[in-house]
Amino acid sequence: MITGLVAFPQHSAPGLALAIEIMARVGEELAFVEAGKDTGLLPINSLIMDLEEVPREGSPAEYAASLTAVRSILDQILDGSGKFTDESIQFLNDWHAGMSSILTAWERGGKTPAPTSSEPSAKVLAPTSVAPPGTAPYRSPVAQPVADEPAIRLNLAEDSELLREFHGEAQELLQNIEQGVLVLEENPGNADTINSIFRAFHTLKGGAGLLHLDTLRELAHDLESLLDAARRSELSITSEVIELILAGGDTLKQFIREFGAQLQGVNPGEPIAIPTRTLRQRVRTTVSGGRSPALPTVPTPSPAAPPTPKQPESTAPESSVNQSPLPAPASEPAAPSTPATAPAKARSESAAKTESATGFVKLDTRKLDSLVDLVGELVIAQSMVVQDPDVQQLANRHLARCLRQLSRITTDLQRTAMSLRMVPIGRTFQKMTRLVRDLAAQQQKQVQLVMEGEETELDRNIVEELSDPLVHMIRNSVDHGIEPPEVRMAHGKPALGTIRLSASHQRGGIVISIQDDGQGLDRDRILSKARERGLIKPNATLTEAETFALIFAPGFSTAEVVTDVSGRGVGMDVVQRNIEKLRGKVEIQSVAGQGTIFNIVLPLTLAIIDGMLVGVGDDRYIIPTLSVRESFRPRPGMVTTVHERGEVVSVRGRLTPLLRLGQHLGTPGRATDPTEGIIVVVESGDAARGLLVDELLGKQEVVIKSLGETFRKQDLLAGAAILGDGRVGLILDVDTLVRCERTNNPANGDLGS
């Protein structure tokens, strides 16, 4: 169980919270901005306009200046081409980073200047641009024009294989870093974690160096030095350092995301320019000075009250507290800190060795899939040999022993091959820790995330597809579920909200549940909204489940329903669509004032299930054994007709509706009288139904295979499986069978023929 506990102080300034939120949204928009296009320009412009209207009491002096700066740049873009350029994107990114620092300073009540690198960008935008007056409250002495920050160009033609590997590896490393940081937050002195983060940056640096991705290598190098200092206890892990590591990880992630996009064929060969200089500057200053000038710790007397230029830089070397071999940035600007490299290299070589000892192999999933298919074929071929009548007649004891050995090996082989594709869901869960932390910080809520069942294994294809819907739902829980601390206190709940994320095997599948102890869904508001939108008739009466299901209707933003927080409102319809793609479903339980539970019920598509093989007419079908409650041959009198239409079977005093499977599938079975057949009672959720089949043919472990696009539109079958004789058996979708409306009419029992 992992908990991430986040608590944030309340802001005194009324405008600050709003400004922080707006900046977060600007950041989101910035992520989609592309050079040569106007995507995001208008949203950003309107967000900046919002920002300009935010009350400014208590804001640092640079705040207003920074706003003026961005306004003039935006106006230039709007008056000019109306499209972003590499330079203006660079500026906006720098500005965003700078503004975030200003807001942080504001939050801390300090008036420390933050480097808004508007100056260099303004230079780049020349000649049309005039440096905005009153901007650039601080210009770093080492700041160089943005053009000096070299863009990375991927050599896709030659290095594509290496890049692909690096891309995959980097993603994993970055995640390790993030995980490590979260551990450090709770336990700053954890040497193992510091080491593992150090190693991760080091490995990244090595990979980037190999591929000549210089900007990336330099950034990773600086971050590595930061961790190195921490490793040698020359630098204590403060919240500033953690912020720096996270910021570094995020920047590296941006690169990696770009690489991924280009590897997928989006703008291949385009130069990738993501600002790193400001960040590297801060990292280097921290390493050399033991703290960051941009984010001064609160107890330290602020080194610079007025925003005078050069202030942080000049104080940094003076307050130096360590013997770091790194040169002070002021003395040797952009050059990589050579003295540090040698010892670092020696140390990290041993680190790299320990890492390779973990024994993982990266594998192309297509190879894996074809291996699993082939092993399945092998198992079938083996059983065909064993069951061959000629072979069985041989009665040769030696041969029989060999064949037994063969089947044991093939069975083991199959099990191993299957397990290769299963991965624990924990990794996906852990990503949510960061999400909750960031969201809670952003909204000044106190939220803890409790995770259970992280070891539950799922097919990796499902795990991959699950990440996005989970992000949406966790986001909704923090946004709209958990109330602000004071509201929670007023309702007698602990200020700390809890989101419980759990995975478990249930009902023949895997259930992932997201439970929050927030305010719950408001039925009346959902209903009134639905009526307003014409989704339901004005006088319709809906059950609770039906009401909650309305939030999945397209365009039915939960934001508008549950709270008045507007804006992000991630459509739950998207979540549902994604889950349905995985042949799963989402169930909602909610009690007003006490919280909401979202259950994502996923089938084990592509995984192995225990199947019950039943015969209907000439065909065979597989029913997932986990959905089967019982099966029996009915005695006369157990089956009764209701209204001459519906049939029910009475089992130990319980009445269960009966469905003649053959008739339902259009291949009438042999058993016209229920007593000639077998009734299999299946259940899904809380509903059950008896299925009348001709015979039970046995139980078998089968590998679920997708029926493919051709049969996507039917919901009768959950998939297919290769049976022991090499033929395809179809797996029935129990949920559809249990819920289908069709009733039997024994009066014309051969309706289907």
Partner: protein, 187 residues
């Protein structure tokens, strides 16, 4: 368009250069029989030819979806081309087999499908001179999925558009749950 085709066909009767309005491209085609008629598929889309094997029928599907088979661990759908083209149907003989084709253009939509045919003939190289446009039947048999016709050895082959035969009709017009219901009530 139709008028132009007629003119083009008439002209082709008189003189040698083929008309321009043929979707079929010169190249190699796999020819096969459906009843007495002969058809061709671009050979590039054909993955393999396998013997008729037990087919698992899929319930509530149109008649031309014969069912699914196991192709070395992959479950692939099988189309009955005779049912699909509404030809008279009788049992399949000794020489019947399944042509496995790959359809779809992008890697994500690519998939294998099979078609039962009465007999596979041969792989033929058609030059531009062998190809003719699809004659206009006045709309009665839909000719959307026909690339064109080819004459060779005195016989006429109908050349089929792989994606149109297997994807558009095979996928998009599959019955939805609604039509399924009404269908079961009728049958």
């Amino acid at each position: 368009m139709i008028g132009f085709r007629k003119v083009a066909l008439n002209e082709f009767m008189k003189q040698e250069p083929p008309p321009l309005n043929i979707a079929a491209k010169p190249g190699r085609y796999l020819t096969f029989k459906l009843g007495p008629e002969s058809y061709g598929l671009p050979v590039l889309g054909v993955r393999e030819i396998i013997r008729l094997c037990p087919i698992t029928p899929v319930p509530k599907m149109p008649a031309y979806i014969k069912g699914v088979i196991n192709l070395r661990g992959k479950v692939i759908p099988i189309l009955d081309l005779r049912a699909k083209f509404q030809l008279s149907s009788e049992g399949y003989g000794e020489r019947a087999c399944i042509i496995v084709v790959q359809v779809g253009t992008s890697p994500t939509t690519q998939m294998l499908m099979g078609a039962i045919v009465d007999a596979v003939e041969e792989v033929v190289q058609f030059s531009a001179a062998d190809l003719e446009p699809t004659p206009d039947f006045g709309g009665a048999p839909s000719t959307d999925y026909i690339l064109g016709m080819a004459t060779i050895h005195g016989g006429v082959k109908t050349l089929l558009d792989l994606d149109k035969v297997f994807l558009q009709e095979g996928l998009l017009t599959l019955i939805t749950p609604e039509t399924q219901k009404s269908k079961t009530q009728i049958t």
